[in-house]
Amino acid sequence: MKTVIDAHNISKVYNRKTIPVYAVNNVHLHLERGEFTALVGPSGSGKTTLLNLIGGLDKPDEGNIFINGVDITNLSSNELINFRLRNIGFVFQSFNLIPVLTAKENVEFIMQLQKMNKRDRGERVDKLFKEIGLEDKLNERPSKLSGGQQQRVAVARALASKPQFVLADEPTANLDSIAASNLLDIMVRLNKEENITFLFSTHDQRVIDRARRVITLVDGKIISDSANVATNTMHPTN
């Protein structure tokens, strides 16, 4: 088992000078390659904040975060941009795609930032769109795609850079149940077949049910971290 995320003692405090809000409070988090983990908790419990810290979009006030052995809390903001590009895939809740680029260009954009050559890009685009089942939508602009299709393209884009893991903040929040379950199917399959590591936050019980590990946050603290019995008996960990 290879450790990809190792967060020690991390805290993030807002309004330190007035009424401090511990958005993330002394959290330890350890994630191994191939995990499929849900982050759950009531609204305001700190899910987004925690994902932002792990994703290198924000810096913790205390503690250290190691991604693949690299302490990202010591990186400058320019180093972080490059680190994110090479190591982390992101899926946001909504408005994920660049509206002026086609589905294909959105995915290619990341690979171009990574300076991947044209042939490799082409091959990877074909493979990814096959996996998300949108081969026929390659040249559509995001506005021509349904919400579910957009999120699938966002997943393809997150994978385009061959990241260490994919962070998804409420990826299904804006989707109807069929689109949500489609997206989950794709994520589960990528996890099983390609051993892609996923860490996602959600409110949705049906999504929680598909996770193999569930971490519950309340007021910025982890109050439970357990293997999901139902899922694990269905898909034993490899």
């Binding site: 320019n78 941009i81 490059n82 090479r86 509206p99 002026v100 260009e105």
Partner: protein, 404 residues
């Protein structure tokens, strides 16, 4: 890909893009219009100074211009004239006898410069013939004819046929005077000169001055303005003991005016560019703020700040590129139209224009020489104005941008 994005972003908000494009076009057009107008005015002013006032080059006795004393005529004048005519590039020459004196009528008097001229040559050298608005040309068979300017005629209540007396001193210092009859009234675009200069025939003038066949001034007109320095140099070499001046030296106010107007036009252009800059800053800032989430997301995904900066810069440059030909085209069409038909500025005050020696009809000229400068200024302005929005964009924090 950044280029593709910039290009497509322009079409996202067509109205806004068209507004920026048009302001750039208008900025460019305004710049060209100002330059064209000034170039037209200045060229006209210089042409008037050369063709209707002082000529290209003048030759005098070294001492003559100090006090306009009649005894300082051009020695060996005929020989000098003959030598000058051998220089290549010369269109025409003429000579004048000049003195300062007083013009008197039954009701009043005025100080004037009396020019004794050779009629046929003077008609061409200072376009005196074309300036005549009333009366007839000098008649060889008649005596004591004088031509006066409109301004002076109005002031002294003189008409054609009116009698007047000119009084001045001759070479020996004795006061002489002669009675003249107004044969014609002329009017140029330069009212102060019209008020001051009166013309009589050289023959009569020389008799009164007792200087025989001599004269005080040689005026040289060239075929090409560019030969000015060259011809002045040649003349100075040939006639080192005379005073040889170009129109720039004779009429330094014209030269100065041209130079200050140049500066003034740059100040005007700066003001136009300032307005343009504000427009661009405003619109590009709106474009950036509207896309906060999108730009934040791009940074989150790993887009470098350089690329974000480049995106905003490229969008502005593309808009400038689109606006430039439109502005140039309008500028070219408008200045060419008025170059043909003339732009009547008499609304600005005919009096004012003519007291500065300007014609009220201006023929603006497309400023070919300064044209690339203007394009460059517009480009620099638009690039500088997009710096602020661009910096704003790359400073966006992805966490905050995405939270919106």
């Amino acid at each position: 890909m950044i280029f593709t994005m910039a290009w497509r972003n322009i079409w996202r908000n067509k109205m806004r893009s068209i507004v920026i494009m048009l302001s750039i076009a208008i900025g460019l057009f305004a710049g060209i219009a100002v330059l064209a107008l000034y170039k037209g005015m200045m060229d006209a002013r210089i042409r008037t100074a050369i063709d209707a006032e002082v000529g290209h080059v003048q030759l005098h006795d070294i001492n003559f211009k100090k006090d306009y004393e009649p005894k300082y005529f051009v020695t060996n004048g005929e020989h000098v004239l003959h030598e000058i005519s051998k220089i290549s590039g010369i269109k025409l020459t003429t000579s004048r006898s000049i003195t300062n004196g007083m013009l008197a009528t039954a009701t009043g008097s005025a100080g004037v410069q009396i020019n004794g001229v050779i009629a046929e040559q003077e008609y061409k050298a200072s376009q005196l013939k074309n300036k005549i608005i009333e009366g007839k040309l000098f008649d060889n068979t008649k005596k004591n004819q004088v031509m006066i300017g409109k301004k002076l005629a109005d002031k002294m209540k003189l008409k054609t046929g009116s009698k007047l007396v000119l009084t001045f001193t001759d070479t020996s210092g004795s006061i002489v005077s002669g009675a003249f009859r107004v044969v014609a009234i002329y009017q140029s675009v330069n009212a102060p000169l019209d008020e001051r200069n009166v013309y009589v025939t050289m023959k009569e003038m020389n008799t009164l001055l007792t200087i025989g066949q001599s004269f005080h001034e040689i005026v040289v007109l060239l075929n090409n303005d560019e030969d000015l320095q060259e011809v002045q140099q040649q003349l100075k070499q040939k006639f080192p003991s005379y005073k040889i001046e170009t129109w720039k030296e004779i009429s330094p106010e014209t030269d100065l005016l041209v130079k200050t107007t140049d500066q003034f036009s740059y100040i005007l252009i700066s003001i136009i560019m300032f307005a343009l800059a504000f427009g661009i800053i405003n619109t590009m800032l709106m474009a950036v703020l509207e896309r906060t989430r999108e730009i934040g997301m791009m940074i989150a995904l790993g887009t470098t700040k350089v690329k974000i900066f480049l995106l905003v810069l490229l969008e502005t440059i593309l808009l400038t590129l689109a606006g430039t030909p439109v502005g140039i085209l309008i500028g070219w069409l408008v200045s060419n139209y008025f170059n043909k038909h003339g732009l009547d500025l008499s609304g600005m005050g005919k009096e004012m224009m003519s007291s500065f020696g300007y014609s009220t009809i201006i023929y603006p000229e497309f400023p070919t020489d300064k044209f690339f400068g203007v394009i460059l200024i517009v480009f620099i302005t638009s690039i500088i104005s997009c710096l602020f929005p661009a910096i704003k964009a790359l400073r966006l924090l992805p966490v905050e941008a995405l939270r919106r």
